[in-house]
């Protein structure tokens, strides 16, 4: 089952109330509304920019833009999709500035290396860890539209519909980017390494 961004029932009603209060200028309501999504937005942005400091800067800026634009939020998409889209656009701008400065996506020990679940044995954990590292490097090499597609759909597990809305493209174009991204990552990691991976 893919984890969706959508909220339903009472939570959706509560969200509607918070949106109205935030649109009336209530910053506490905005924080309550956005804080339900900031961990996930931060995780997506971190995967896109590859650096914790820069990810924080991007998300802070995205939240500021969302706060200033909340009056124009028309509820055609969910608040979560809207916020994710602002954050992905902001990550795009940050990476554009970085490209102009001539640096690439940093992947280092302070970047994306995350803790493995505790239930795996040491050898298996090391093998998985190495493969994940190869995956992170391969993702970092992708152009942003492809990286965004792979991160939103395959890593974050969003539906094609949600992920395409966040990426700001139609579903057909999104799928095309996703398939291209997988092909490139598969080539970078190599079939032998993928097929030898512990299940």
């Amino acid at each position: 089952m893919r984890p969706s961004l959508a909220v339903g029932g009472t939570a959706a009603m509560h969200e509607g109330t918070l949106v109205s209060r935030a649109q009336a200028g209530d910053v506490t309501a905005f924080e309550q509304l956005a804080s339900a999504h900031t961990d996930r937005v931060y995780a997506v942005v971190l995967r896109l920019v590859g650096d914790r400091g820069e990810a924080e800067d991007v998300v802070q800026e995205a939240l500021l833009r969302a706060w200033r634009a909340i009056g124009q939020f028309q509820r055609r998409a969910t608040f979560a999709t809207w916020l994710h889209r602002i954050a992905v656009n902001e990550a795009n701008r940050a990476l554009g500035r970085r490209a102009q400065a001539g640096s690439s996506v940093p992947i280092d020990d302070e970047g994306l290396r995350l803790s493995a679940p505790p239930h795996q044995g040491p050898a298996r954990t090391a093998e998985r860890g190495e493969l994940r590292r190869s995956l992170e490097l391969a993702i970092a090499e992708l152009a942003l539209p492809y990286r965004t597609a792979l991160v939103l759909r395959d890593i974050e597990g969003l539906s094609t519909r949600e992920a395409a809305a966040i990426a700001g493209v139609g579903e057909a174009a999104f799928k095309s980017r996703l398939h291209e991204a997988r092909t490139k990552v598969r080539a970078a990691i190599g079939d032998a390494a993928l097929l030898a991976a512990p299940g």
Binding site: T38, L135, L150, L178, H179
Partner: protein
Amino acid sequence: MRFFRRVDEHAWSRSRLSPYIDGDLSRRERLRVQLHAEHCPECSRGIRALRALLRLTESMRALEPEHAPASIFDRVRADANSTARDGARSPEG
């Protein structure tokens, strides 16, 4: 002639392996990939490799979840405070 047909079939199938594993192909297209892969070691391996890649990307989700830093709303708060201050200072009140 048969060689060219086989090459075309291979290129066609190879470019559809990712939609195939996502279930995004029509029934007819799915069958065409399946039939080709039964006799093509490269495409058969490609399907298994893509499935392994999806297991790997999914496993990233099981890692310790990321938490946004506590300071994440600092700019929003500063902006809201400065707007409130400017509002309080304005002659219109």
